[in-house]
């Protein structure tokens, strides 16, 4: 039963930056063959500049861009495992022709440009679907394929604003804040996998491909449905809510021993409150009439936080979590980058893949948010160097001869070094 779930599924991957590459690396983990298309004049932005300016906003192993920075940039390395790399200048007629030839042998085309970029290249859905009516066109964009804002540019951080997340993220006495994690990117990457599976199922039934239109803004809005209903009935607009929850009291993060160490605690029932009182060695507090109901605990947040904070501040954040959880209290250490990659639970579940990247060295790779008992995840293959698979894809898959591909190199249609590297 070790067959990979998506074996035989071939994806032509024009996605770049974050949201699309996240979707396609997950599909690669499940066995799909992913052909990432870039060009030497327009690489995936995640690869950074061919010759980065000092202090550029990119992350290289050890801070060293190295000889081929575009193949070592952290964002590229981390988001493009399980893919092959092909370069094709889509502005040239040859590039377009090869692209359409590839589209005719692929099951899926994925892209996350501004909505009309592909149309302007003459490679929009209408053209592609004529070449391959069975092709599924996965179009991930910030605003969707239609509408007056369809060509607006966005980043994960601006989507957090325009989709309503920033308005509820921030200290209660502060201003709206962003996640610094471009949160709508990974989220929509995760959802797009399921959307594509739905389209594949539809194709099995109808024999035809089709357009899948995923708007990052809509997905992000869709995480806040309750707030929309609330506003329409009561006129309430939640505002900045800090670390609080409307029905869980107390809830927050509490300081622990060490530099910037915290434990999150979230009490959802009277039982959990009693557990917390026991865990912190203060069982009689469970009978304290000031705190006996969730509502009262919400009102007395300040007093309770001081008591809990006093207890946590003498403990390590992991230790505090384990003690609290042993008493049935929802608690979690606030892990940092160095901690999540060594966390014993994720380790025992085999969450991280160790990847030896030829340019970037060894590192722990994020994998997928699911475990299927009969459809294993494949071991990650390192993110490809630019144009690493030109010969395989054009030669083996499209049957071009060596002299044909060499000619394309000479014409600058394909290549392995970005413009500006020399």
């Amino acid at each position: 039963m070790a067959r990979l779930a998506l074996e035989g599924l071939r994806i032509l991957d024009l996605t770049q930056v974050a949201v699309g590459p996240y979707a396609t690396f997950m599909l690669g983990y499940m066995g799909a063959e992913v052909i990432k298309v870039e060009s030497c004049s327009r690489m995936d932005i995640s690869r950074g500049q061919a010759r980065p300016t000092p202090g550029a906003h990119r992350v290289y192993p050890g801070g060293e861009p190295g000889e081929e920075p575009w193949n070592r940039a952290g964002h590229h390395v981390h988001r493009n495992v399980n893919k092959m790399s092909v370069t094709l200048d889509l502005a040239t007629p040859q590039g377009k022709g090869i692209f359409l030839a590839l589209a005719s042998i692929c099951d899926v085309l994925a892209e996350n440009y501004r909505a009309s970029v592909m149309d302007r290249l003459g490679l929009g859905y209408d053209v592609i679907s004529r070449v391959n009516p069975q092709l599924i066109y996965l179009k991930i964009s910030s605003q969707g394929a239609t509408g007056p804002e369809r060509d607006y540019g966005s980043l994960g951080s601006t989507l957090e604003q325009t989709a309503g997340l920033a308005a509820v993220t921030g200290y209660e006495d502060g201003t709206p804040l962003m996640t610094n994690e471009t949160f709508p990117d990974p989220v929509v990457g995760i959802l797009s996998v399921g959307a594509l599976m739905a389209a594949l199922r539809r194709r099995r039934h109808t024999g035809r491909g089709g357009l899948v239109d995923v708007a990052q803004r809509e997905v992000t809005v869709g995480m806040q449905g309750d707030a929309f209903l609330d506003f329409q009935v009561t006129g309430r607009v939640a505002g900045l809510t800090g670390n609080t929850h409307p029905a869980r009291h107390p809830q927050g993060v509490y300081p622990c021993v060490g530099d910037d160490n915290w434990v999150a605690i979230s009490i959802g029932s009277d039982d959990e409150w009693r557990g917390l009182c026991r865990a912190i060695g203060n069982p009689q507090m469970a009978d304290d009439t000031r705190f006996v109901s969730s509502k009262l605990r919400g009102q007395e947040h300040g007093a309770i936080d001081a008591i809990i904070g006093h207890w946590t501040s003498e403990r390590d954040h992991y230790q505090a979590m384990h003690i609290l959880q042993a008493h049935g209290v929802p608690a979690g250490a606030v892990l940092k980058g160095g901690e999540i990659i060594t966390d014993p639970h994720l380790k025992s579940r085999g969450f991280w893949d160790w990847v030896d990247h030829p340019e970037a060295g060894g590192y722990k790779q994020v994998t997928i948010p699911w475990k299927l008992s009969k459809s294993p995840r494949k071991q990650a293959t390192p993110a490809p160097g630019l144009g690493d698979h030109n010969n395989f894809v054009l030669g083996e898959l499209l049957g071009m001869t060596g002299s044909e591909t060499e000619e394309l190199v000479e014409q600058g249609v394909i290549g392995t070094r970005p413009v500006g590297a020399n």
Partner: protein
């Protein structure tokens, strides 16, 4: 199957989940036209029926905005499967379903004799999706979770907030919703495999792992030597809220003079602090001051449209109220009106993606046990008398 049959029109889903993550998963499956039968404890029901916001002041099982949103297009039945007789009814029921989704603590369903092992014996095509805070095995498997716990232990919140203050969560229940999406995608992969190979399987979903996937920078930055830190935002005040002008990222070199003209600062056209994108990034705070004076007098959404028109990557901090008025979302008919006897007709966020030729299913959420007669009478062929007996025993 023809075009008029929804993509999951032939799929029946037994939904034992409650709270947020699981119901979000089955809401998406219902959106694709699957028949989702939500199973609740008699009398008590899904815990989210008792979660705010309560629409109309009074709390009650049918007025929680959380419940109503998360359970659209589902049928509702009651069953106390914690009892032996109830478990046996569930075992019978599960025979007729393609997918079962649950969010019980790990091992709980097994202890009732209705776990995956037992149910798949007689229904080998069954896809069984289990959603928990930490997954089915591993040292934290019995630990409890919530949205903030996932954000903490999944290394997301360590980078949110301001330097020198405590880490901050993303507002709402975004990690529980994301976990629901992960469960949806995974279940759809399992269905893909079943369509091709015929067998079902067990799908293990964890809120911690979902969050660990959602931290897109923290772990890799740390490993490549640039540990991320909490930092202030690049927002500036508009007349009625906040905007991020985005001039440091998106604006093309040739457009900068137009931006200066717009802001009424022609003297900055050749100013080396701002006349290239790297310079604008370098001097972001100074630039914000210049833009800030201009922005303070204008409405945020107008600023957003104006600056996007110059190819800046601008954003505006939209509230739920703003989003209900958004021209873009209205143009795409994103919000869909759903009528409900207790709260009336309201606009709900609609399809999270659109498949060509398929429409999104979004009927109202069910009352507790609303479809008992349908489901028990139809699928299991229970007579009215049998139903009454089960009801008297408190099983349904």
């Amino acid at each position: 199957m023809t075009d008029d049959i929804p993509v999951l029109g032939d799929i029946r889903i037994l939904d034992l989940t409650e709270d947020v993550s699981g119901p979000f998963c089955t809401k998406l499956l219902a959106g694709l036209g699957a028949e989702v039968v939500k199973v609740e404890q008699p009398g008590y029901g899904d815990v989210s029926r008792r979660l705010p916001p309560f629409l109309g002041g009074q709390s009650g099982p049918d007025v929680s905005g959380m419940f109503l949103y998360l359970n659209t297009a589902k049928k509702g039945i009651t069953l106390d499967y914690e009892t032996e007789e109830g478990a046996s009814v569930l075992r019978q029921l599960a025979q007729g379903f393609d997918i079962l989704v649950e969010s019980c603590p790990p091992g709980h369903m097994d202890s009732l004799g209705i776990g995956y092992e037992s149910l798949s014996e007689s229904n080998p095509g069954l896809i069984y999706t289990a959603i928990t805070p930490f997954g089915q095995w591993g040292p934290y498997r019995d630990y409890k979770g919530s949205d903030i716990i996932a954000q903490a232990i999944g290394a997301l919140m360590c980078v949110i907030g301001l330097p020198g203050r405590e880490p901050l969560k993303v507002g709402g229940n975004p990690l529980l919703c994301t976990t629901g999406m992960a469960a949806f995608s995974a279940t759809m992969i399992a269905l893909h495999v079943r369509d091709l190979e015929g067998y079902g399987q067990f799908v293990d979903i964890s809120e911690m792992e979902t969050t660990a996937v959602a931290q897109i920078h923290t772990s890799i930055h740390y490993q490549f030597g640039r540990a991320p830190e909490r930092r202030p935002s690049n927002l500036t005040r508009a007349k009625d809220g906040w905007v991020s002008p985005g001039l440091e990222t998106g604006v093309h070199e040739a457009t900068w003079p137009r931006v200066c003209e717009l802001l009424g600062v022609p003297e900055l056209v050749d100013d080396p602090r701002f006349n290239t994108a790297p310079a604008r990034r370098e001097n972001q705070q100074e630039l914000l001051k210049v833009v800030g004076e201009w922005a303070a007098a204008r409405p945020k959404e107008e600023i957003y449209h104006t600056l996007q028109g110059l190819r800046s990557i601008a954003g505006y901090v939209a509230t739920v109220e703003d989003l209900l008025k958004s021209g873009q979302l209205a143009n795409r008919e994103f919000f869909q009106a759903i009528d409900h006897p207790d709260v009336g007709k309201l606009l709900y966020p609609g399809p999270l993606f659109r498949l060509e030729g398929d429409s999104w299913h979004s009927g109202r959420a069910p009352h507790i046990g609303e479809h008992n007669a349908d489901v028990y009478g139809g699928a299991l062929g229970y007579t009215g008398e049998q139903l009454e007996t089960l009801q008297q025993k408190g099983i349904i």
